[in-house]
Subunit: 112 residues, 2 copies
DNA sequence: GCGTTATATAATCCTCCTCGGATATAGTCG
DNA sequence: CGACTATATCCGAGGAGGATTATATAACGC
């Protein structure tokens, strides 16, 4: 399951949010999603791990989870291409919008 | 369907990629995904529209699709919170990575 | 007005995957 | 042993995604 699918699931985003406040043992994460059973949360954590979004550290019988840049970097890279698109087309976009406002372009639906 | 789910689908990301090269009429987008039927592509475009990722302009009998910043901004905003996390924890992160390298940690990143 | 082109949408049917529950088990420590 | 977790099954509900087919528009060319 790729990063995008991993992040598409609300419960998983909640887990990431919890980790935004700092690393946490699995137990706390399970407690953070009271609607889900322990195995369910564990499965979500597995997905997040595989997607490179979180990192685990073993501490005695605990597994401490923390955010991990890898997966986020993937999303970042994907988004970056579109960000470049805007910057590359910003002038054209602005020009377009300006023209629409001012002239009431040819292909416009409105007759104002 | 929220932006994250919209973007999670590979075919839809392909459509966005096509639009990265510039705006295109629906017909070309349909042609760009030969594996899918016209209604299927049209449904994907619908999802992208609803998610605010693309914009449509009617031109004669054609519908010209183009990227639209709105939806991307949502992902951007989400990602931003994590980006701030890294900058806030960069020192801790570096320390952590250094420790991993030195110690040769056991729980290395399994890819699948 | 007609026929054609370009699209969207709807309806139906199908397949497959995801998510969750429940339960049991195994491994690792303290 | 008992706490903490991961995993493995098995099961069921639900939805996503696709194919088809058909229909409704809207605009163009004749």
């Amino acid at each position: 399951m790729d990063v995008f699918e991993a992040v598409a699931e609300p419960s998983r985003r909640t887990l990431l949010d919890l980790l935004l406040e700092g690393e946490r043992p699995a137990g706390e994460l399970v407690a953070g999603l009271p609607a889900l059973s322990q195995p369910a949360v564990s499965r979500h954590l597995r997905v997040l791990r595989d997607a490179g979004l979180v990192d685990v550290r073993v501490e005695a019988q605990r597994r401490i989870y923390a955010l991990r840049p890898t997966g986020f970097a993937e999303v970042e890279a994907w988004l970056e291409r579109y960000r470049r698109y805007w910057s590359g087309h910003l002038d054209a976009l602005e020009g377009h919008l300006a023209r629409r406002q001012q002239a009431g372009d040819d292909h416009e639906g409105e007759s104002t």
